[in-house]
């Protein structure tokens, strides 16, 4: 079976190379048979990759420890679902998984465009074939997951098992989501390159890839949020984001992707910013590959880092190739990309989008700068200088607040020019809400400038969204006489991008509320003997007892901590410190969290002090963390609303099919 895997991979490389050559021949002499051949070759290559992936999953499932990869990341005792997660636990499997997702995208893009975008598809396929070729070569020649262990030790090896940190349900979803996001941006990128090459620079490619961009954007967002969720419940430091290079690597393409999603709207409506959009999607795709390079090369020290390998240089070369090719292509089409329309006024929706784009790009640059600073400073000054969370917090907080302000202002501006009357009509309520909320915060004793500003801005944006929706419903009711609910649903269906977007904004807003909560986190490290208590804010944490439990693959030290408030028991937290006996006695903490709507009670047990018989604990009160996860769910719903075909779309489709 392992042989099947490596053989199919090699075959896949052959087919992919063939597809590339056939495509080149089609572009040279425009004989349609070459195009069809190339398309089939690429699809065959994708199917072979999928077979290879299933083969690796099968090896993991049957625990064939003769395969080195299986021996490294799985063991007979590993629960079945985590045997499956072994697919992305290591470098070799991750690369294969990356390829499998690319294969799925290739098949879908070719299927859905079978009767569309005829002039773009050959180039789209060339681009996807090049990316696939690169990853196939890297996987086959450097990181082959089907490498067998040497005969001598093969029979005596028992699997190492999956790292306990990764044995968490979120780890079954987080990596696939990130990969679906990363890889998915190849589609809009390929369409952009195709549009440039074929000089079809109108909004066709932008419209054709709207869903192809929203989908990876959503996957990436879900992946990032789940990553935060995993860190929060598993790593035991009480936070969900640490500005670790690997986190930043996933955040960067999401930022430029978000900028792109906004600026394409101007291209669709006004045929402007065409050059800018091309640059943004190219940057986004480059950042996804660059992110893979950062994570895989080990050039940055990160708690996530896989051991550094020689792979770095190849990824670096590939990133450089992409950048050079993109720059040349853009320079060649520079004049044709120039806009014929101009912005008419500062106070227009267009300039709102423009400003929003500048802020997103500024944010991305700030994060990129901080992430790359150790490397840059070493190159320039000879000393590696790092900037940690203080830098990122300091720089992203004000930029984030400006973004929040833009979320509020943008949708309230009219296209072309906003008259003074409209301004007054649209902004009075939100401004009023912001001022009232800020005043209430001050009265409640919150005097820190950023939290107050953030809460006021949240009120501003929220009121803006409500005003927008209520007005829309009113307008529909007046013209059609529908009920409010019906009017609301029809309104959303008629303009899914706009109202889906509004829902996404609502989700982002909630997440900002969660980020504000971070500023009010309190924590305490303490040592308690049985029966002893400690106070944190108005809660009393009492250690009731601590005991050790033996389980199948680990021993757990458990502390029962009763939490009460005003003499009423709230909950009993039971954090555990586990020692995994099948993992060279690796210790691993299980955090205990009790979530209330507005705050989380969080406890961690650090160990037992044998001399005093006491237990070392970390306790925290994390306000508003739930808002981050809730915001993520709403963001997901909003994006799905935006992606879902409207009734008009569906009718058009049925007509076409009929």
């Amino acid at each position: 079976m392992a042989l099947l895997g490596s053989t199919t991979l090699q075959l896949s490389l052959a087919f992919c190379g063939l597809a590339f050559v056939l495509n080149a021949m089609y572009l040279a002499n425009r004989d349609g048979r070459f195009f069809v051949g190339a398309q089939r070759g690429l699809i065959a290559s994708s199917l072979l990759i999928l077979i290879a992936t299933f083969s690796l999953v099968h090896q993991l499932m049957v625990s064939n420890f003769s395969v080195e990869y299986v021996a490294r990341y799985s063991s007979a005792a590993t629960p079945t679902m985590y045997k499956f997660a072994g697919l992305w636990a290591g470098m070799e499997g991750s690369l294969l998984f990356w390829l499998a997702i690319l294969g799925i995208y290739v098949i879908l893009v070719n299927y859905l465009n079978r009767a569309r975008n005829r002039s773009l598809m050959p180039i789209v396929n060339v681009v996807m074939a090049i990316v696939m070729l690169f990853f196939l070569m890297v996987t086959i020649f450097f990181e082959n997951p089907f490498t067998m262990l040497p005969e001598g030790i093969r029979m005596q090896v028992r699997g190492m098992g999956l790292n306990p940190l990764l044995q968490h349900p979120v780890m079954l979803i987080h990596p696939p989501m990130l990969y679906l996001g990363y890889v998915g941006f190849v589609v809009p990128f390929a369409f952009a390159v195709a549009a440039l090459t074929t000089r079809r620079l109108d909004a066709t490619w932008v419209r054709s890839t709207r869903r192809w961009t929203l989908l990876p954007w959503l996957f990436l967002a879900i992946g990032i949020i789940l990553g935060g969720r995993w860190a929060y419940v598993e790593l035991g430091w009480g936070g969900y984001w640490a500005w670790d290079p690997v986190e930043n690597a996933s955040f960067l393409p999401w930022l430029t992707g978000t900028a792109y999603l906004h600026s394409v709207i101007i291209q669709e409506k006004k045929n402007m910013l065409r050059l800018w959009n091309v640059i943004l999607i190219m940057a986004t795709f480059t950042l996804t590959i660059f992110g893979t390079y950062l994570t895989r090369s080990g050039i940055l020290s990160s708690v996530h880092a896989f051991a550094g390998t020689e792979l770095g240089i190849w990824f670096f070369g590939f990133v450089m190739l992409i950048i050079v090719a993109c720059v040349i292509l853009v320079l060649m089409r520079k004049d044709e990309l120039a806009s014929r329309n101009r912005l008419e006024s500062f106070t227009s929706r267009e300039s709102g989008f423009l400003f929003n784009n500048m802020i997103f790009v500024a944010l991305a640059l700030a994060v990129l700068w901080g992430t790359m600073f150790p490397i840059l400073s070493e190159a320039v000054r000879g000393t590696k200088i790092t900037v940690g969370s203080p830098y990122f917090d300091r720089i992203t907080t004000p930029i984030g607040l400006i973004l929040l302000l833009m979320i509020g202002i943008g949708p309230l501006l009219a296209w072309r020019r906003t008259s003074i009357g409209t301004m007054r009509r649209n902004f009075t309520l939100p401004m009023g809400a912001a001022i009232v909320v800020a005043a209430v915060c001050m009265l409640l004793g919150i005097h820190r400038i950023y939290p107050v500003l953030a809460i006021a801005l949240v009120a501003f944006v929220l009121t803006g969204i409500v005003v927008e929706v209520v007005r829309g419903i009113g307008a529909r009711r007046r013209t059609s006489g529908e009920s409010s609910l019906r009017a609301f649903l029809n309104m959303v269906d008629k303009n899914r991008s706009r109202y889906g977007g509004a829902i996404v904004h609502l989700g982002v807003l909630l997440m900002f509320v969660g980020f504000v909560g971070k500023a009010f986190t309190v924590e305490q490290d303490t040592t308690l003997r049985t029966g002893e208590s400690t106070h944190l804010q108005d809660y009393v944490f009492t250690l009731e007892k601590h005991y050790t439990v033996e389980r199948s693959n680990h021993t757990a030290l458990i502390a029962d901590i009763a939490v009460s408030r005003a003499d009423k028991l709230v909950t009993v937290l039971k954090p555990e410190k586990r020692v995994y006996t099948d993992q060279n006695n690796q210790p691993n903490s299980e955090v205990a969290i009790y979530s209330k709507p507005l705050e989380d009670l969080y406890a961690l047990v650090g160990g037992e002090n044998p001399e005093s018989g006491s237990v070392v604990l970390k306790i925290m009160i994390n306000p508003l963390v739930q808002m981050v996860w809730l915001g993520g769910i709403i963001l997901t719903i909003g994006t799905i609303v935006a992606i879902w075909p409207s009734r008009t779309d569906r009718r058009l489709r049925e007509k076409r099919l009929a």
Binding site: S301, S589, N609, V616
Partner: protein, 140 residues
């Protein structure tokens, strides 16, 4: 129209200048040199910062917890160079003899007072596979 374009150009330049200014200031005020222990020891007095980030191994047998276990002293080694470290707070799960750690903190009077202690997982992901005598033969 001309006037309008000018105003947009000014706006864009202003945003760029403010961003770069803000990035530069934040960087210079938050920068922490990532140095080798030997560099830190040899360069004493020449650094303008007193915060450093260092990586190394925990010297076997050097871990000494305070009585309440909320602080720990240990020696970090990197090649020949040794550095005494004091850290306040709960230590991470993987913190043991011989583990690879990254610390950040202030260097005063020959001791690094760390407020950030991270253990590196990389070694855990990439363990050496060694023959296991007790395992029953496996294979397909």
């Amino acid at each position: 129209m001309k006037n309008q374009r000018m105003r947009f150009a000014i706006l864009i330049v202003a945003v760029a200048v403010v961003t770069f200014g803000w990035i530069t200031i934040s960087t210079s005020e938050e920068e922490v040199p990532y140095v080798a222990i030997s560099e830190l020891l040899e360069g004493q007095g020449t650094w303008k910062q007193d915060r450093f980030r260092l990586g190394g191994l925990v010297e076997a047998g050097s871990i000494a917890y305070s009585y309440d276990r909320l602080a720990v002293d240990f020696v970090m080694v990197q090649g020949e160079a040794r550095l005494p470290v004091h850290y306040s707070g709960l230590t991470p799960d993987m913190f043991q003899d011989e583990t690879e750690v990254i610390i950040e903190g202030e260097y005063r009077d020959g001791v690094l007072y760390a407020d950030n202690l991270m253990t590196k997982c990389a070694s855990r992901y990439e363990v050496e596979i060694t023959p296991d005598e007790t395992a029953t033969p496996q294979g397909v």
